[in-house]
Symmetry: C2
Subunit: 263 residues, 2 copies
DNA sequence: CGATTGATTGAGTCGGCTCAAGATTGGTGG
DNA sequence: CCACCAATCTTGAGCCGACTCAATCAATCG
């Protein structure tokens, strides 16, 4: 799952759906000076309480997640990230990290200097707009997660997060509509993302498989019955603001796939 | 709890702590043309699924909250808002409302036309920055709520939200450090904000009162032992980014009050 | 091949839920 | 000023979804 071109034009392309960008805007993004790094799974990119680093990271390949801890040591994963996503743009503007950012799999990131980004958003308001929209969609996903963890039972929570990740993976072009996908999260991580224990995640996944909604063996999970899973997970993709995310959802067929209509 | 001056200079003042603003920037905010409206408690300002309205609302007095529903009809409150806060700036940039916005108490709002705001952020990048930071802090609060609802028990959840609202009320100048405050939320609303039932909220509040952490009679709740409540609620105000919120937290005394140090 | 990480399963417990009934409170109309 | 109503708060009893504790199995890796 890599976009290994030398420049960041794939990212510029992505951002151009968040706000309308001129050719010059896109070019400015694509040509952003950056340094690529490869990090092992579980490496911390940022730790809660730290001041911002001198650069911001764009995820090129692999997955990452953000989490927070209670004083008791319980962990809550608050978001997962796919290639093409900016991981810590908020640290361009906030003075302290309020959560930790960690690689979920082995990842490749592009580090862009804060000064460079500051300059970019000052000189190119349209780009600033696109970045801003990016953050607003982030916030919308957080709201949905509050609902997921606060008001849905285990079965629905797991179903919901599987739906979300599947749809976002499609949006990022990582999988096709019907394709099975491997979710590189342990059951413990899935529990930390849904406010459950790994034991209960295990039992819930088993139940979903028994009911024919998903298939799984060991690490890999695939969606066997999209419509049912969507219904069980109370998944309505409205909150992902897909119209402002990806060109992949323009076609009628795709619209059908992601629709919230009757199953 | 009203700031009934004719212009929005109190809001300009507030925003100037989110990003540095010039005199002209502040003046531009203060002089924003707007229409004031008074709304009864429980009035909807926005409903999930609607396209954006032609104006955005700034809360002048009273409180408001945002919520989402599951398909089963369970409600999750995802944030509460105090005077001086922009309630729906995201609808300036997003094409659809992903949640509902409702008045908690009787409120007064200032409606500002989207066009006017669009114009403001295009011509004044520093103001756009301040608004952007505002949204980033919102997102940080959502993350904390995911943690609260996902990984804390009932006692800690209630304690946490009480701490958050108390600190934010102080930041907004609505109460002083030692002052009791009335939380205008029913126990059912408190449950919807913490992912609990009203019955369990009732019992948890009683327990907190018995232990001397809070005092309550009927609708009004006051904090009796801040340090203990903070510890029980695992409340660390880091996520509120207070240094970027309010001048009220500049003094050493206040810093002590909000500190996360040993109680 | 041992060691480690993650998945799986069983048994028992409990925090928070549901259902249901009163008790308060605040507001309203007569 | 009082009676009444509706919303909210309060309390009890019983239940259950998810947790804890504790093995065991499976896969991966130096």
């Amino acid at each position: 799952m890599s976009s290994a071109s030398a420049d960041l034009s794939f990212f510029a392309e992505r951002m151009s759906h968040r706000a309308s960008l001129s050719e010059a805007d896109r070019a400015a993004i694509a040509e952003l000076p950056h340094v690529r790094r490869r990090l092992n799974a579980n490496t911390y990119l940022i730790r809660e309480g730290e001041p911002p680093r001198s650069s911001c990271s764009l995820l090129i390949s692999g997955m990452a997640f953000r989490h927070k801890l209670t004083v008791e040591g319980a962990r809550q994963i608050v978001s997962v990230h796919l290639p093409g996503e900016l991981l810590d743009l908020q640290h361009l503007l906030l003075n302290i990290a309020d959560h930790s950012l960690q690689a979920l799999t082995e990842v490749e990131v592009a580090d862009i200097e804060r000064d460079v980004l500051q300059d970019l958003i000052l000189t190119r308001p349209a780009v600033a707009n696109a970045f801003w929209v990016d953050g607003l969609i982030d916030a919308s996903v957080f709201r949905e997660w509050v609902l997921n963890v606060g008001r849905r039972d285990a079965r629905a929570r797991i179903a919901h997060i599987l739906c979300e990740i599947a749809v976002r993976m499609r949006g990022a072009g990582l999988i096709s509509a019907s394709e099975k996908f491997v979710l590189p999260m342990t059951q413990e991580q899935l529990g930390d993302a849904t406010g459950l224990t790994s034991v209960h995640v295990n039992r819930t996944i088993k139940a979903l498989a028994t009911d024919g909604l998903i298939e799984h063996s060991g690490r890999s999970i695939s969606i066997a019955n999209w419509q049912k899973l969507r219904r069980v997970g109370d998944f309505n993709p409205l909150y992902l603001h897909l119209d402002q995310v990806s060109p992949r959802f323009d076609s009628p067929l795709d619209a059908l796939f992601i629709s919230a209509g009757p199953a």
